[in-house]
């Protein structure tokens, strides 16, 4: 499967690395070449310096051939614009994006994008960790969260 990941922050890089290690053909896009430092040394996908909201860039990396597109930059608006471009201009079937603003997240979900809002989940988890009766209990909670993610 060919997957384009826009935004090579910690999340984008971890996602790209995992998809690549599973044998997918991964292209990671970022405006800032130094962002690729987050990728592991054995990353086998392609890195491309460019703006994922620029049609010429998307054309160049042949987003039209991709099976999936995911945007994980720090900007909600950048993420949803690029995701909609991939979906509506280049016809990518599966498009996922991260949106920090819960209201915008809900709206774009209703408009047909696969969206994820990390804000609410993280706030809730942080609260649990904060309210744990001891440091050990807090560490155990975090480990439990990780196990749930891996499952």
């Amino acid at each position: 499967m060919k997957v384009v990941v826009m935004g090579c922050g910690r999340v984008g890089a971890a996602l790209a690395a995992e998809l690549s290690s599973e044998g997918n053909d991964v292209v990671v896009l970022d405006n800032d070449p130094s962002a690729f430092r987050f990728l592991p040394d054995d990353f086998r996908g392609t890195t491309y310096v460019g703006n994922g909201m620029d049609m010429d860039v998307l054309e160049k990396i042949r987003v039209g051939d991709a099976d999936a597109f995911v945007s994980t930059t720090r900007g909600d608006n950048r993420n949803v614009m690029a995701a909609q471009m991939a979906k509506h201009v280049f016809g990518v079937k599966v498009v996922a994006t991260r949106v920090f603003d819960p209201l915008r997240e809900e709206m774009y979900r209703n408009m047909g994008l696969r969206t994820i809002n990390p804000t609410r989940v993280q706030a809730k988890r942080l609260k649990h960790v904060l309210e744990a009766p001891s440091d050990e209990a807090a560490h155990e909670l975090v480990a439990e969260f990780m196990r749930q993610e891996d499952a």
């Binding site: 509506h88 201009v89 709206m107």
Partner: protein, 235 residues
């Protein structure tokens, strides 16, 4: 009193208080519209309020809560004119989706985004880049088709071409031109500089300026119909 009420224009929300947003808000106020300008930078918002009065809301115009406070549901129009295309797109989409604003306008920097934006929730796109390019193209002696004006809503536009000597339509009557769907030749200006509303029998000459109405997506076909050279004849 009623006359003043009738004169009262629309309620227009301007998102983005840069140079474009500022001057736009100022002009709209002078034209008697009810205007609210939304600006993210508190200092800039204050500066504009000092100059234009109490018509500025400090906040992010892409956020539903801010648009709620702005009374977007009763707005006739929302103009998103920040310097970033993605912010303008999202402001228009939130205005449409959540507040049902009748008309949304987005300023665009990258002209390639125009069609894409209009496919989504943006009714009108305005691009300084395209406008300037259109002027340059009009000045060029090449066989370009330049867009003069886009008609509201319908997707139709008025375009202008100068007929080159080798065009297949030279010395042909208008009725023989294979025009694309929903396209019409509406005006022909001959060498004498006189405008003429053509009939089917009007003959096109090299150097004529032709104004036509067409759909944006038919531009290429129209260009081909009017500008392509006559096919070489085989004897």
């Amino acid at each position: 009193m009623t006359t003043i009420d009738a004169k009262r224009g629309m309620y227009i929300i301007v998102v983005g208080g840069g140079n474009v947003g500022f001057h736009l808000a100022k002009e709209l106020v002078e034209a008697n519209h009810e205007v609210l300008l939304i600006e993210e930078d508190p200092q800039r918002a204050k500066d504009i309020a000092d100059e234009l009065g109490d018509i500025v809301l400090d906040g992010d115009g892409c956020e539903a809560s801010i648009l709620e406070r702005a009374g977007t549901a009763r707005a006739d129009m929302l103009l998103a004119v920040t310097g970033e295309d993605q912010n303008n797109l999202v402001a228009c989409q939130v205005a449409k989706q959540r507040f049902n604003v009748a008309r949304t306008v987005a300023r665009i920097n990258d002209p390639k985004n125009e069609q894409f934006f209009r496919k989504l929730e943006v009714d009108i796109t305005v691009s300084a880049t395209s406008a300037i390019m259109a002027h340059i193209e009009q000045e060029l002696p090449t066989h370009h088709l330049s867009v003069l004006v886009k008609l509201k809503g319908s997707g139709l536009e008025l375009v202008e071409v100068r007929i080159p000597e080798d065009s297949r339509v030279v010395n042909q009557p208008v009725r023989t031109i294979m025009l694309p769907y929903q396209s019409m030749v509406v005006l022909v200006v001959g060498e004498d500089g006189l405008p003429k509303v053509p009939s089917g029998e009007t003959v096109i000459h090299a150097g004529d300026e032709v104004v036509a109405v067409t759909l944006h997506e038919s531009e290429e076909q129209l260009r081909d119909a009017l500008l392509a050279p006559a096919p070489a004849r085989s004897f």
